[in-house]
């Protein structure tokens, strides 16, 4: 129940012209044009007309060469350096066929001594091809190349990005399409990659440093005296005072939805700012497949196309039973394949607003170049509710962080009841709150989407087409708590940051359950490299196969994992500044007895 006002709710006029310009980008905000030489500066191509909307270059075939280099870009009126693949931001879309063995020669052409890497997100492959420096390989040093080589057992929409410090934020990401051997269980006439990302003119290292010094820098939407008075008018003195007291006791604000928002970021759709208006073509009567990819560093998007319904046919590259919705929330690193049938209009707006409602990325699905449909206004800024804090009405008022419950219920498949917290959370600098009651809440659309009259996709709607690919019941359960300290911008699992933690150990071949409990009030997209995370439903049964699972604020979600990939794998929150801040673990999959 979201009773209380958010600062400036509804009356959130966009601030001054300079900020609107920043959000929209230049009229020409193409950034850079495709096909630049890697060493070169942005050519006059940046002055092309806004109508020339390029899709990222596509590279097809099993033997590819990618160059990682530095390129100048201009999204906001300021000329800034970016890190690109073959000169493009996003990098080229790689198109492969299921069953092929692909080789990709990745060369580091960055200036200076900067190491780089590429990680193939969601692709099952040997550990030394996974692209994580320090776990898979040593990284790629300037002037050197690494020959990735792996066999593609799977098909679907995926993406790739750097796993070296701050490089993904600087532009090093791109799409992967693996065409299936067997025909897809759905028909479409045309397809487009829709890759969403967040761009900052700031040096990513400087942005991270800013987050460490002043984590609330972008939270210009805190509740004020005016909100207090208007809440009293609307909800009465008692309820308002109780609400403020609760948040004050927790030392938190309910308007803290994203660490970095549209005040810092310009949101891009296929490397285009809203003003540059990326265009996707269609003809009347066609079924169009949109491969949605969230390649952002820190931003969740709520995506919809006013006037069109979205039929979700795949999630994280894997087929699901089709479900038709009006809007979906795509977390960082997730992908959704949706089919739309554009009728009734010549052009439709592809609208992706950030969950904090501080900005948006957009493009146009159009039957003729140059058409634009109306861009909807940003929704009012949402505010967190008690369920997002891992509290319920019964618990409210009896705040005891180590609320009594006795034994750990290791074999309980049902994910209900009060939360038990690991001992390492006690007095940890990396824990500023704990969920007391945490449910999977798979049918909860999430903060900001709960009041929609239209249908919003939830995890409860996603069911793998093929059922449980492994079939076994999980042998054992591992529980990990997502913890953080907003004041210090320090993040961890179980109150222990990556640098202080021992690896998790899985036995090769086992089927285990990993329970993730969110002891923070933010969404965290958790990604396990090398293996699938099979999300379980409310009763602990297999539901949908994914590679990245959004753990909603104050929720508890569980996944089944088949440890069928030997090696050392990263397991981390894909809000990459959280990963950098410590929210990561190493998972070692080894043969028992070796």
């Amino acid at each position: 129940m979201t009773l209380f006002s958010s600062a400036g709710c509804g009356g959130a006029a966009l601030p001054d012209v300079s900020r609107r310009r920043f959000v929209q980008g230049l009229a020409q905000g193409l950034g850079l044009s495709v096909g630049l030489s890697v060493a070169g500066r942005a050519s006059a191509a940046t002055a092309t007309s806004p109508r020339a909307s390029h899709a990222p270059q596509m590279l097809t075939g099993p033997d590819l060469a990618l160059d990682i280099g530095a390129t100048r870009v201009n999204f906001t009126g300021r000329d800034r350096p970016a890190i690109t693949v073959n000169g493009g931001l996003p990098g080229p879309t790689l198109r492969w066929r299921q069953g092929d063995t692909v080789t990709v020669r990745v060369t580091n052409r960055l200036p200076g001594h900067v190491q780089t890497s590429l990680h193939w997100h969601g692709i099952q492959l040997p550990a030394n091809m996974d692209g994580v420096p320090g776990m898979s390989f040593d990284g790629i040093y300037p002037g050197q190349a690494y020959l990735y080589r792996f066999h593609l057992r799977q098909a679907g929409t995926y993406w790739y990005h750097s796993h070296s410090l701050h490089q993904e934020q600087a532009g090093l990401y791109g799409a992967i399409i693996v065409d299936p051997v067997a025909p897809a269980p759905y028909r479409y006439d045309r397809e487009h990659v829709v890759l969403l990302s967040d761009w900052t003119d700031l040096d990513p290292a400087a942005l991270y440093s800013r987050l460490k010094k002043m984590p609330s820098y972008d939270n210009m939407f805190r509740r004020t005296v005016g909100d207090f008075l208007s809440d009293i008018r609307n909800y009465g003195w008692d309820a308002t005072v109780a609400d403020r007291k609760m948040w004050g006791r927790m030392r938190m604000t309910p308007t803290d939805l994203s660490d970095v928002n549209g005040l810092t970021y310009t949101y891009l759709m296929n490397g285009h700012t809203p003003a540059a208006n990326w265009e996707a073509g269609f003809r009347q009567g066609e079924r169009v497949l949109l491969r949605l990819i969230n390649a952002a560093n820190m931003s969740y998007f709520d995506f919809r196309i006013p006037g069109l319904k979205l039929t979700v046919v795949a999630a994280d590259g894997q087929y699901v039973h089709p479900v038709t919705v009006d809007e979906l929330r795509i977390g960082v690193a997730e992908t959704y394949d949706v089919i739309v049938e554009p009728v009734g209009q010549d052009a439709f707006t592809l609208f992706a607003q950030d969950i904090g409602r501080t900005g948006f990325a957009c493009g146009t699905l159009t039957s003729r170049p140059g058409l634009r449909a109306e861009v909807p206004p940003l929704d009012p800024r949402p505010i967190l509710a008690m369920k997002d804090m891992g509290m319920d009405h019964a618990a409210h008022g009896k705040r005891d962080r180590y609320a009594g419950f006795v034994a750990e219920r290791r074999d309980a498949p049902v994910l209900k009841g009060p939360v038990s917290h690991p001992r390492t959370e006690r007095n940890s600098t990396y824990v500023d709150m704990q969920a007391m009651v945490a449910q999977p809440r798979l049918s909860d659309p999430g903060v900001g989407l709960r009041d929609r009259e239209t249908k919003v996709l939830t995890y409860a709607d996603l069911h793998s087409l093929d059922g449980d690919p492994d079939g076994r019941d999980p042998g054992r359960t591992i529980e990990l708590h997502l913890t953080g300290n907003m004041e210090r911008f320090a993040w961890a699992f179980d109150g222990v940051p990556f640098m202080d933690a021992r690896p998790l150990r899985f036995n090769y071949g086992e089927r285990l359950r990993v329970v993730l409990v969110n002891d923070t009030m933010m969404h965290h997209p958790v990604h396990l490299h090398g293996m699938w995370s099979d999300l379980e439903d409310d009763h602990g049964a297999f539901q949908v196969r994914k590679h990245t699972v959004d753990i909603a604020p104050g929720s508890r979600r569980s996944c089944r994992v088949t440890a069928d990939a030997l090696g050392r794998w990263a397991y981390h929150c894909h809000l990459l500044y959280h990963m950098d801040g410590g929210m990561m673990r190493e998972v070692v999959v080894e043969e028992a007895g070796r």
Binding site: P126, N128, P133, G134, M135, S136, F137, D138, G139, P183, A184, P185, Y186, R187, D189, R190, E191, A205, S209, K212, K213, M220, R223, V225, G226, K245, G248, R249, R251, E279, G281, Y319, N427, S428, T429, V431, D432, L465, D466, G467, D468, P469, D470, G471, R472, D473, E487, A490, P497, M499, Y508, G509, T562, D564, A565, L566, G567, R568, G582, E591
Partner: protein
């Protein structure tokens, strides 16, 4: 326009993929998990030159809490208060300083402290403090204290000191930010100072020595620079008040201040 790709139009109707009709056998996966070869093992655990580098980078924050001036019957005064730290999430090195300059005379203090996080909200700090200025106020102290955010969003700082000549001191301060708007913030502050024993030459009276209150209205012109206007009131108490009266100084002092708050 983007080049389109035709789909496999033959798949007109969605066909469910192969579903295993058999009940699942406990312990046996539907698709067999291959036994790793030596080559698989070598690929899984390559020998690396460098460990995974995800150490916390060192961060330095300088917080100019107050840089303010006032006009006291024609005499212009200037005061500062600064807090800075460098380090990681748990261990930090702190430098704190405060002081004022009035009538050509500057007096103040500098503290160098090692800080360790205690829980999520507090730092325990310990180190040394050096007073400087005129009128024999130069003293060197050992310091130990805490600072952080208390429930209900009060910024608290409390430090105890022991000087090289045996004097003890306690300083504590609390601040609160009341948001009139997201840019206009009203900040009340209250603090006190107490000493362990009398030191007439330094006008330090045993017990409660002074209390300070103030209210500052700051405007966040940018998110790191905020000019402010305020009123600051300081009152001596107990023996300290006696010493001051005997020396002909004011026992209480209220002044209008204009200043700047900034961080980087």
């Amino acid at each position: 326009m983007t080049t389109a790709t035709a789909s496999d139009a033959l798949a007109a109707t969605p066909t469910p993929a192969t579903q295993s009709p058999l009940p699942t056998m406990p312990g046996i996966p539907k698709s067999p998990i291959p036994v790793p070869t030596q080559a698989d093992r070598a690929a899984a655990f390559p020998i690396l030159m460098s460990k995974h580098a995800h150490d916390a980078p060192r961060v330095t924050l300088v917080n100019l809490d107050r840089l303010e001036s006032w006009n006291d019957d024609g005499r212009v005064g200037l005061a500062w208060e600064l807090t800075s730290w460098t380090g990681g999430d748990v261990q930090r090195l702190w430098v704190r300083s405060s002081g004022e300059r009035e009538g050509g005379k500057t007096r103040g203090d500098v503290e160098l402290l090692y800080g360790h996080a205690k829980g999520a909200w507090w730092d325990v700090v310990g180190g040394i403090r050096q007073d400087f200025g005129i009128d024999k106020t130069d003293q060197t102290w050992a310091a130990i204290g805490i600072q952080g955010l208390a429930p209900y969003m009060f910024d608290i700082s409390a430090t105890a000191y022991l000087s090289t000549d045996g004097q003890t001191m306690l300083r504590a301060e609390a601040e609160y930010d009341l948001l009139l708007t997201n840019r206009l913030i009203l900040q009340p502050v209250a603090g006190f100072r107490a000493f362990g024993r009398n030191d007439r030459s330094r006008m330090q009276g045993a017990g409660l020595s002074s209390i300070e209150t103030g209210i500052r209205l700051r405007y966040r012109a940018t998110r790191s620079v905020a000019p402010y206007l305020g009123y600051s009131y300081e009152r001596s108490a107990g023996h300290t008040a006696d010493y001051r009266r005997l020396a002909g100084h004011d026992v209480f002092e209220g002044r209008l201040v204009l200043g700047l708050n900034s961080w980087f």
